[in-house]
């Protein structure tokens, strides 16, 4: 998310500051207009068409406006989709047919959203917890609450309410959704012009500088979350009107789309740059893609591929020209070549520096009474971020012991726990390394499924085939991961966009490769590793121990590891210190691809065969484990042992909950509360 930050200082553009500042939004607008022209050109323009395009993207646009506030402040809000569902079921189950009730529930929608936002904002701004952890917990708590209110689709929304949001503002001239979005945009512009709006950009650009200039950072951050929540609430109200009913799952699937809309609109993850107008355009672009796929008659298995490519192209429009990373790399390469020809490379200058004169070493006796800092002192910071996960784990294990009568005293329990944790343990390294550089890998789900399917197909139950198919699968994962890295480094794509698009492309690849029916199965040897016995444990447990040691060493004790932290802390500083930022990033994404591939193989071995969509369950937990383990989502901080603690905590917690007879909804709420509680001590 900070990968673009190392672009050299911008030169003044001839086209004026307006174009420069709004470049992202303008590119998004252009892309949207081109797509719209294609759709209208193919199907003709009509008021009906106008009305439905306006209404189709409105709920996504409203939610994206909300998310923009949070992202501008440098945060990240995972609770958006859950809030939309909650508002939808509240409205669907409570709204009466009277005008008073409709107005009251319309306001209630915004109040509910703002209240959830205030909850998020309190923990992020005042308790100074990481946004991603807070909003992830909130997501689970809100999800559970939603299911408690209504465990299945149903409900009705009064016709008047429906008409207000989705009918005609002026019949045959202006559809109501256009008015709703225009009003929302006006609110955004008004807010942006206030002191709060200026503060928002200031906080997102540089929190310390903002604080030093007298911006009330905590209040600005808090208000960003409250406003965001209010917009999610409004989006929930719109969804209710649009569907005329309620469905507890309606919002969850919007989450990734919301992020994609914000990224498409030119808002930079990490804060400080962008705006909600771009997000609105981004949202409509994503929705109109549906029409494009239909108009072009893209075959079903290829539709996610087409969408991925569309997403990349739409953002790519913003990164062309002289300042584009690719152009820069080419220019730098040409300069380097020229320098080599003229023999003027830095390395060619043989300058001998005089050895600096060091002050004479203090005699040993002098330092002896000054106590050398102990291990605890030196690692205090690391411990502070790593310990909460382990403390949480200890609590969960004690509760398990009390409730079930056996936990740590039972080797079978420990073994099961470690086997279940093995998948996330591997994913945490890849996702963790990506997060340390300030990125995010969303391509994990279908990287897992695709590699699992390909490897199981090659192996088809034969151990000898596994000997070559497994390395091939790992290589495939690393290579595809490197493609992610290349897109991010060379094309300057935001990591979220690149990896989300890659996820779609890989999904299409898996469907086409398997023809919808994955064939092949794991070999007996592969199965034995995940389900057999060796020295009193499942073999993978021994592998797990080795993996944790190797991963800790890789991130904590190698040059690659140092470079990862350097890039995460400041790509610019890293570059000036001689770190190959591009190469490091490509390496990090290749590592993540490798880890996903390994998990694909492990899952295929665990289940006996690979199935489509088997990686879907691992995206959010992989991010959660990393941040619960003390990593900073904006990069540069976090240790692998901490991430492993996060994995163990999440696995132990879900194991404990699976062993109870609590309803699913209550389990969600407890899960959210425990994660929040465990990390409560983890403050910046």
């Amino acid at each position: 998310m900070t990968t673009m930050a190392y672009a050299p200082a911008r030169r003044r553009s001839r086209s004026g500051p307006f174009l420069v500042r709004h470049r992202g939004a303008l590119v998004a607008l252009t892309v949207f207009l081109v797509l719209l022209a294609v759709v209208l050109g193919l199907s003709g323009f009509s008021y009906f068409q106008f009305g439905f395009i306006a209404s189709g993207g409105a709920s996504l646009a409203l939610a994206a406006i909300g998310q923009t506030f949070v992202i501008l402040s440098g945060g990240f809000d995972l609770s958006a989709g859950a809030v939309i569902s909650l508002v939808n079921v509240v409205l669907g189950s409570g709204m009466g047919s009277g005008a008073g009730s409709q107005i009251a529930f319309g306001l209630l929608a915004i109040v509910i959203g703002a209240a959830v936002g205030a909850f998020n904002g309190f923990f992020v701004a005042f308790v100074r917890m990481q946004p991603i952890v807070v909003t992830l917990s909130t997501m689970f708590i809100v999800q559970g609450t939603t299911l408690l209110i209504s465990d299945k689709p149903g409900g009705t929304i009064a016709p008047g309410f429906v008409g207000f949001f989705t009918g005609d503002a002026i019949p045959s001239v202006l559809p109501a959704p256009v008015l709703v979005i225009a009003a929302a945009a006006a609110v955004w512009l008004a807010v942006k012009a206030t002191r709060f709006g200026v503060g928002l950009y200031a906080v997102g650009s540089d929190t310390d500088a903002a604080f030093a200039s007298g911006v009330r950072v905590t209040w600005v951050t808090f208000r960003a979350y409250v406003l965001a929540g209010a917009f999610y609430g409004l989006s929930g109200a719109f969804v209710s009107a649009q569907t005329g009913s309620s469905d507890p799952l309606v919002g969850g699937s919007m989450l990734l789309q919301i992020f994609a809309a914000v990224a498409l609109g030119g808002t930079v993850f990490g804060g400080g740059r962008g705006g909600a107008i771009g997000s609105i355009i981004g949202a409509y672009t994503l929705m109109i893609a549906v029409n494009i796929l239909l108009a072009l008659n893209v075959p079903a298995f290829y539709s996610s591929v087409a969408e991925g490519v569309l997403l990349i192209l739409a953002v790519l429009g913003g990164s062309t020209g002289r300042r584009a990373p690719l152009a820069q790399y080419l220019r730098l390469g040409a300069l380097r070549l020229k320098a080599r020809r003229e023999n003027s490379l830095a390395s060619a200058h043989r300058v001998s520096f005089a050895s600096p004169v060091l002050p004479p070493r203090a005699p040993a006796e002098a330092t002896a009474d000054r106590q050398a800092p102990g291990w605890l002192t030196r690692n205090r910071a690391n411990l502070r971020y790593t310990l909460p996960a382990y403390a949480g784990l200890a609590v969960v294990l004690v509760v398990t012991q009390v409730l079930k009568g056996h936990a740590l005293t039972d080797p079978a329990f420990v073994n099961s726990l470690l086997v279940l944790a093995s998948f996330l343990t591997v994913l945490a390294l890849g996702q963790g390394a990506v997060i340390l550089t300030g990125g995010l890998d969303l391509s994990l789900p279908w990287m897992i499924s695709l590699v699992g399917i390909v490897v199981a197909g090659f192996v088809s139950g034969s151990d000898p085939a596994a000997l070559w198919a497994l390395p091939l699968g790992l290589l495939l994962g690393a290579a595809l991961g490197a493609v992610n890295g290349l897109g991010i480094v060379l094309l300057g794509l935001p990591p979220i966009v690149m990896t989300l698009a890659m996820n779609g492309i890989l999904q299409g690849a898996a469907l086409v490769y398997s023809g919808g029916t994955p064939s092949g199965f794991a070999s007996p040897g592969m199965r034995r590793v995940m389900t057999g016995h060796l020295l009193g444990a499942t073999p993978v447990v021994w592998g797990l121990i080795g993996f944790v040691l190797a991963a800790s060493l890789l991130l904590g004790g190698t040059i690659f590891g140092r470079r990862v932290y350097a890039v995460g802390n400041s790509p610019l500083a890293a570059r000036f210190s001689g770190v190959g930022v591009g190469g490091t990033l490509i390496g990090v994404y290749a590592l993540s691809g490798f880890c996903s591939a390994l998990v694909g193989i492990m899952l295929a071995s665990f289940n006996g065969q690979a199935s489509l969509g088997m990686g879907d369950e691992y995206l959010l937990p992989s991010i959660a484990a990393v941040v619960v383990g003390g990593s900073l989502i904006t990069g540069g901080r976090g240790r692998y042992p901490g991430m492993f603690g996060g994995v163990l905590l999440l696995t132990a917690l879900s194991t404990l909950l699976a062993g109870t007879m609590l309803p699913h909804a209550v389990r969600d709420i407890i899960f959210g509360l425990v994660v929040l509680g465990a990390v409560l001590v983890l403050r910046d």
Binding site: F52, D151, T243, S253, S519, M661
Partner: protein, 375 residues
């Protein structure tokens, strides 16, 4: 290169000549769209294959031009998609609805423009829509009753449900639980959402087994996952004769396990082999979309089609399980209901593909989207 040019030109001419009448013909064909939700799982992909095969069968292909589109997992996008299909001049839209309620308004709008909207597997509550589905409550109840009887009304059971928050899951689970409450001896000792996936079922069962042991479990009621549950018991060292009774999905792997031990099958491996596992196998039928397409043809031809078509619930027990040799529709019509592992290598694949109403589709339709060859 010089030599190749004429042949290319000839090929182009040939294509142009043959395409012309087809193109002219296509205009007479009714435009029908398929709006799918998420296709990234085995059931959906199999159902798509069967619809494509049905569309390619001569009777349908002569009258209908089917275009398949995927909306993805979000209801917003399916709403947009259905609207766009109406704009494109659809005569009928076949839908796998993401939500039974969220599409109501857009469906109503489509109906009012004379477009037939027909949902398969899941339902749409808007009355103008047509629905093709199994009775989900009956499915939950049948499995529950079989399990309760098998256990003699007494024992500890594990319940693995579907996707929480969906109508299908709620109906099945509530119906089964209603049965279990009638048998006070039956005690649910653990419950987890299995998301209708063998892979998730394994993870959830593993979590449950971390704190429970197999000897304290007498039976299982699962929406998907009996194959995996049997496999896990074998891994835990439970002999084939002592496998716990399991009421669950119609996976091919599960049905192969139901065959008497020693039944010769082609391509058996690991737990994917006959072992006489005590099972009740019901299914949400993957042919429902293909059947919906046939109903569209009927409706467009002027026939009356009922708004609510409840498909018979396939129920296979150890007494009725029977291996198919080739998997043609004709062979299935004689009562076979499970396929050779060599033909269906994925044990999680859904085997309930037979319907008396759809002689156009057999095993090749489900696997390769190819219609049955006419004799």
């Amino acid at each position: 290169m010089m030599f190749q040019l004429p042949s290319i030109r000839r090929a182009a001419l040939f294509t142009a000549l043959t395409m012309l009448p087809v193109a002219a013909h296509a205009q007479e064909k009714a435009k029908v769209f398929l709006s799918m939700s998420y296709i990234g799982n085995d059931w959906q992909a199999e159902a798509t294959n069967m619809i494509k095969a049905m569309a390619a069968s001569p009777a349908i292909a002569a009258k209908i031009a089917l275009q398949v589109q995927v909306a993805g997992p979000s209801a917003q996008r399916q709403i947009q998609q259905i609207n766009a299909m109406v704009q494109e001049g659809a005569k009928a839209i076949i839908v796998y609805p993401i939500s039974p309620t969220a599409l109501n308004r857009v469906v109503k709008n489509a109906c009012s423009r004379g477009v037939m909207v027909i949902a398969y597997d899941a339902q749409i509550t808007e009355p103008c829509a047509y629905d093709v589905h199994i009775d989900q409550e009956a499915a939950g109840r049948a499995g529950g009753e079989w399990l309760a009887n098998k256990l003699g009304g007494k024992g500890n059971i594990v319940v693995i449900t579907g996707v929480p928050g969906t109508s299908v899951d709620t109906k099945r689970t509530e119906a089964a639980k209603a049965v279990f409450t009638r048998h006070p001896g039956i005690k649910i000792v653990a419950e987890a959402p299995g998301m209708w996936s063998q892979a998730v079922a394994r993870t959830e069962l593993s979590k449950i087994l971390a704190t429970q042991s197999w000897d304290k479990i007498d039976g299982l009621w699962m929406q998907v996952g009996c194959f995996t549950a049997d496999e896990m018991q074998l891994e835990a060292g439970i002999p084939e004769e002592k496998l716990k009774p399991c009421a669950g999905e119609g996976s091919n792997g599960g049905r192969i396990q139901m065959l008497p031990k020693g039944t010769p099958v082609d391509g058996a491996n690991g737990a994917y082999r006959p072992m006489g596992a005590p099972r009740f196998s019901y299914a949400s039928v993957p042919y429902s979309g293909a059947y919906a397409l046939k109903l569209v043809l009927d409706k467009l031809g002027g026939k009356d089609v009922p708004h609510d078509t409840v498909l018979p619930l396939p129920q296979v027990t150890n007494a009725t399980v029977k291996l198919c040799k080739t998997g043609t529709w004709k062979e299935m019509s004689e009562g076979c209901n499970v396929f050779e592992p060599s033909a269906v290598t994925n044990p999680g694949w859904f085997a309930s593909i037979y319907s008396a109403q759809t002689p156009e589709v057999g095993l090749n339709a489900a696997l390769k989207a190819e219609p049955e060859k006419l004799d």
